[in-house]
């Protein structure tokens, strides 16, 4: 589902990732970890074409990203749900509208959008907050809204960048349970985290990035 082959990325003259090669299979839930600044976020950004590699090949859900034209990128992104580290919630829109935005770009009709958004808000246990604005939500609730927005369009791949970075243990567990549920439905999930507690004992593959390369690929 996600294939990196000798991928190298520079920021100006600084190498961020060098000759990265790994594969994540369809339906897998895997983790990427490493110290801050290791290039975890950059790696995820390259999967949804927010960053382009300087060399190497990336294939996501059958799309060869190197061959992708600018105008095709939106269609790739519709297949990739993203849980952003900084949430990227729109403060002037309600929880419902924030989640619905991911479906509006698919040109779905109002009734389908209503049904799908209500269903996903029920899953993340936020139905009662549908009309609330993000500023009035706790960190854990905001993160659940972001997950709801990422999963509502039923993407084939879901990426999460430090999804529990600002949450307490209880909320972190709830968020991880959601990712497992999403993965159980067949969505490939890739989570970037520096928190050992998140992947330890999960029995999932963990990629350690060190010195710009994947140091080891182990079961967590």
């Amino acid at each position: 589902m996600i294939e990196f082959s000798k991928v190298t990325k520079y920021y100006e003259d600084d190498v961020i990732l060098k000759d990265l090669t790994f594969t994540i299979d369809k339906g897998e839930l895997a983790f990427i970890t490493g110290p801050s600044g290791a290039g975890k976020s950059t790696l995820l950004k390259m999967i949804y074409c927010d960053e382009r590699p300087d060399s190497g090949q990336i294939i996501v859900a059958g799309w060869d990203l190197g061959m992708l034209k600018q105008k095709t990128i939106p269609f790739l992104r519709r297949n990739v749900g993203i849980v952003f580290q900084d949430f990227r919630l729109l403060l002037n829109k309600t929880v419902f509208d924030n989640v619905a935005l991911a479906l509006r770009v698919h040109y779905l009709n109002a009734q389908s959008i209503r049904d799908d958004v209500n269903a996903v808000l029920k899953e993340v246990k936020l139905s009662h907050k549908a009309g609330t604005y993000p500023a009035h939500l706790s960190g854990g609730e905001q993160q659940r809204v972001v997950i709801a927005r990422a999963m509502v369009a039923k993407p084939t791949v879901l990426l999460a960048d430090e999804p529990t970075g600002n949450l307490d243990i209880d909320n972190s567990k709830k968020i991880m349970a959601l990712f497992r549920e999403i993965n159980a439905r067949g969505t490939t999930v890739l989570i970037a985290t520096h928190s050992r507690g998140l992947y330890h004992g999960t029995g999932r593959r963990v990629f350690f990035i060190k010195d710009h390369q994947i140091e080891k690929d182990v079961i967590g």
Partner: protein, 294 residues
């Protein structure tokens, strides 16, 4: 269709949220369009006055003294059959003298001593209005001058040339001023939409990451420009029509002859103004949104 519905909803919300800046933009557009329309109206009226004057414009073809009857008839036939000549009038030597008497009135006494009629017979030709351009009239006159029996041709060459220059300058002025105002309107819409674009930068970035196409991102801004242009145009058309109706009614009361110089614009112009506003505003919006990169 769903993209249009979503865009219209976005525009409606934005219209209300940013009502003051929108109002100022719409008013600026309507003032600009009103200036253009006023200038067009003045040009239109000047032009129609000029056209009316030009209708009486004619060529006087003086004939040789020794012209034969046959040659006169041939000339008359040729003038009557010429599609560029609207009216042909033959003035005989006798009629010319009679008209001169009438023109001189009391001073006609000076003609008493004449042994013979010194005036030539002539044709007065009125040309079709489409031909009333200095170079075309000159060409026509040269053509006629070569005909057998023609002595001389007279026409108000300088007068026609001046009228034509005034009319041409007015039209050129309308194009230059209109063009400048249209550029100004494009810039006004550009600035407003650019402000909106920057205010919604976070939303646009998020939309891009969620898979929104360029069309999806651009459309609300283009529609916003379109609505502002149309509204500005409608206000302008209504204002111009209202002001024109009011002033023409009031002015005609004490200056009835002004009616000759105050013709209303054709109804198409009042419809064209909002359309022109819309087109120019959409161009401004399009430039403001610019190229969307992923």
């Amino acid at each position: 269709m769903k993209i249009v519905t979503y865009s219209i909803q976005t525009v409606m919300k934005s219209f209300w949220r940013e009502k003051w800046i929108n109002l100022l933009t719409i008013l600026s557009i309507s003032i600009g369009l009103s200036l253009v329309t006023t200038f067009i109206m003045i040009t239109f009226n000047m032009d129609s006055v000029i056209q009316r004057w030009a209708k009486n414009f004619g060529l006087v073809v003086y004939l040789n003294d020794n012209i034969t009857n046959e040659e006169e008839k041939t000339l008359e036939r040729r003038f009557s059959q010429d599609v560029e000549i609207a009216e042909v009038k033959y003035i005989s030597k006798e009629l010319a003298l009679k008209e001169l008497h009438a023109t001189l009135g009391e001073n006609a006494l000076i003609l008493k001593g004449l042994q013979e009629n010194p005036l030539p017979s002539s044709f007065e030709l009125r040309l079709k209005s489409s031909l009333l351009k200095p170079e075309l009239v000159k060409h026509k006159a040269e053509q006629i001058e070569t005909m057998a029996g023609v002595e001389e041709i007279q026409y108000g060459e300088k007068w026609l040339s001046s009228l034509y220059t005034i009319s041409k300058s007015m039209k050129l002025g309308a194009i230059v001023i209109g063009g400048a105002i249209f550029i100004a309107i494009t810039f006004i819409t550009y600035s407003t939409i650019k402000i909106y674009f920057y205010r919604r930068k976070d939303e646009i970035e998020t939309l891009k990451l969620l898979g929104a196409t360029r069309g999806f991102i651009r459309l609300p801004f283009l529609l916003e420009g379109l609505f502002m242009g149309i509204l500005g145009g409608v206000i302008s058309s209504l204002a111009i029509y209202g002001i024109y109706s009011f002033t023409s009614l009031k002015v005609v009361e004490f200056l009835p002859s002004i009616k000759l110089f105050m013709a209303s614009l054709p109804v198409q112009v009042y419809i064209l103004v909002p359309l022109a506003g819309a087109a120019v505003s959409v161009i401004g919006s399009f430039i403001a949104v610019g190229k969307i990169r992923y």
